[in-house]
Amino acid sequence: MECAEVYNWLQAYLDGGVTAEQERAVEAHIRACPRCRRRLVELARAVNALERSEDLSPRPEFTRRLYELLERETGRPPGPKRKGRAPGG
């Protein structure tokens, strides 16, 4: 298998989107080809960095401000419950 062909399959391989036969062919190639192996590792690292990135939440006053706006829309409070729960928590 040529590097150019593997190049097209590495992304699908990362997502488990290749057939068993393609998977074996990709794995045989990357064992023998340092360049494609390096590329696969770099792709996997980029995906991991995205998926490990910190989850962020809006600031505490955000929910209060949103409910004030909703009250203005309806002319009444958005609900009887006032749990005082931290937003995003």
Binding site: Q11, A12, L14, R39, E42, L43, R45, A46, V47, A49, L50, E51, S53, E54, D55, L56, S57, P58, R59, F62, T63, R65, L66, Y67, L69, L70, E73, T74, R76, P77, P78, G79, P80, K81, R85, P87, G88
Partner: protein, 192 residues
């Protein structure tokens, strides 16, 4: 995976209660989705205040339109509204509105970043700095690639869900995601 059939059923029950006039049900929808929608908007826009504004606008739009919602899943609907708002916002950002005394281009990004960080508690600024490489790499992606990347790898949506949210074919989702990941690989290969 957060978008399971059970979660969809809970969402739909809340939507139906909203439609029957139970305003507290909308509060529960906000509780369930505000962090996810904010996180998506932040990763798209890399600006806390703008991300909050977009999140707020998304919920107001949902609130105004909820009586006419007839879909069988709430999650793709709110993501569609929020991602469209983000993309519109990014398009508007490109319009030339810079005044004479404002810093331009790269300086503007740096200025915005400093402004963002100084408004945060110290520890949050630190964790923000640790994630700066990945955020800068996301920022560097063309918008149509960025939105697919954020929905897939930050929000954990499936290819099919992304196709539904963005109204594009499944093959286009894959092509854009694969190109985006290749760009990120090139950009991050020195720093990871």
């Amino acid at each position: 995976m957060v978008h399971s059939p059970e979660q969809d059923a809970i969402d739909l029950r809340l939507v139906e209660r909203c439609q029957r006039g139970h305003a507290d049900a909308f509060r529960e929808l906000v509780d369930r989705y505000q962090a996810r929608i904010f996180n998506m908007a932040y990763r798209m826009l890399h600006n806390r205040e703008e991300a909050e504004d977009i999140t707020q606008e998304a919920f107001l739009n949902v609130f105004r339109a909820i009586d006419s919602f007839k879909g069988d899943r709430f999650s793709p609907w709110i993501y569609k509204i929020a991602s469209n708002l983000c993309l519109d916002h990014l398009r508007r950002r490109r319009l030339p509105t810079v005044s004479l005394d404002a810093p331009v281009n790269a300086d503007m990004d740096v200025a915005r970043e400093i402004a963002d960080n100084t408004s945060l508690p110290e520890e949050e600024a630190l964790s923000e700095a640790l994630g700066i490489d990945i955020q800068r790499a996301i920022d560097s992606l063309p918008e149509r690639y960025r939105v697919v990347t954020v929905l897939r790898h930050i929000e954990d949506l499936s290819y099919e869900e992304i196709a539904e949210v963005l109204g594009i074919p499944l093959g286009t989702v894959k092509t854009r995601l694969f190109r985006a990941r290749e760009m990120l690989r090139e950009r991050l290969s020195d720093s990871l």
